[in-house]
Subunit: 229 residues, 2 copies
DNA sequence: CGATTCCATAAAGATTTCATAAAGACGAAA
DNA sequence: TTTCGTCTTTATGAAATCTTTATGGAATCG
């Protein structure tokens, strides 16, 4: 279940705010309304919105100055609404940092599509993919393993093997399974070089590799990665 | 001295292409023209543009399918031009991944402002336009790389490659990923010329290129840009 | 307990991958 | 067209990695 995206609507006409709210809420956005520039900026700062819809014609302040002020501290997308379809206004708004410009009366499905496009752009990948045990940590997105925050240099095969063990933390992985996963289905059942690699990895990650605490041997079966507090 | 931003214009009407070229070149963009979808995609993959302008009505293929195909491998901004001001088309284009939609006849200063807005956004995601590591610094807004405040002369491809590494500082980038990002989806899996370029860049940025501290090799995997204090 | 199988490690050989130079191809600009 | 800068390809030796072999120690089982 995803959390709803919040949109701040800054417009002095109650009618327009109402139409926008209904439209946006029907598309599963959370809407925060503001009827003047001052309140709009406050809401933008406190409601943590994913987008701002701003009417350029406000009673208390020039809408362009609102764009300017917002851009001093945030880069969330701003879509401008205006009754004026003047080239000059469009250029000014966009160059001040607005992301899009629509003229009233606007088409609601076009507005929604432009909102989706703007939000899509800001939601670029930033997901971290990290698993840790003891003082060991693996980061799949950057493909780096650290021990005590210090990076450990691993060859490609060593990394693949360690990543496989991490992903199956606590489970016993049989020799056959590991060999098939890393060396492909046509790999021989010879687990000799698996031992060589486990040995290499242990040298690099275990404090005492005569008594390994991370990768334990399950004699006759395979290996297991242990979760260490 | 900053390198010009490149824009690929895909339109079958020579007249429109000419007008666009003149307009864009007057604003200091480098323009690459294509008169059909096939050539357009090729140019988008090889010319390393910062933006694509796409006419939705092309002779050889549906423009929507071009958006779709481009979006399988690149996230550079796409601005759609169309004679049809239909809500349906706008929504479809934006949801397929286009960044903006303008109807012909378009206003050239509005188009330029929308281009600036789109390019600005792509050069922003790292929050700052400048990233540095050690005595190296990259400025995305001016496309300039400096070492000890001294500018380093880079070819376009070298810049793109270095910028990609900077943007993913600390992450291991696989050969395949780098090749797709820089040379497009049709690039071969041959990483030989990637090595050549890495070699060139190292000559320019590393103090001792027998022992590189900025760009390290992850044998069998790819390369990584390191953060140096 | 033996005997047997399984495991850990070192080290040598085989293979893959990498760095670099240099030559050819290509395209943009004069 | 020619020139120049850049990109692509090819070739070569070096480096890193993987695989195999050998040896002795540990675990397992009758």
């Amino acid at each position: 279940m995803s959390v709803k995206n919040t949109i701040v609507v800054i417009d002095d006409e109650a009618q327009i705010r109402k139409v926008l709210s209904i439209t946006l809420e029907a598309s599963d956005y959370k809407v925060v309304e503001a009827d003047c520039a001052k309140d709009g900026i406050l809401q933008a700062a406190t409601a943590h919105p994913q987008l701002v819809i701003l009417d350029i014609g406000l009673p208390d302040r020039d809408g362009f100055s609102v764009i300017k002020e917002l851009r001093t501290w945030t880069s969330i997308p701003i879509i401008i609404l205006s009754v004026r379809n003047s080239e000059e206004d469009i250029v000014k708004a966009l160059d001040l940092g607005a992301d899009d410009y629509l003229t009233k009366p606007f088409n609601s499905s076009e507005l929604l599509a432009r909102i989706r496009a703007s939000i899509r752009r800001t939601q670029q990948p930033s997901e971290e993919n990290v698993i840790s045990t003891g003082d060991l940590k693996i980061d799949y997105s950057s493909r780096v393993v650290t021990k005590n925050k210090k990076e450990i240099k691993l060859t490609n095969t060593e990394y693949l093997l360690l990543a496989l063990l991490f992903k199956n933390m606590g489970k016993v992985l049989t020799h056959g399974f590991i060999l098939r996963e890393i060396w492909g289905p046509s790999s021989t059942e010879n687990s000799q070089y698996l031992r060589v690699f486990i040995g290499q990895i242990r040298k690099k990650i275990e404090d005492d590799h005569a008594d390994p605490k991370y990768i334990t041997t399950e004699s006759g079966v395979g290996y297991r990665m242990r979760f260490v507090k």
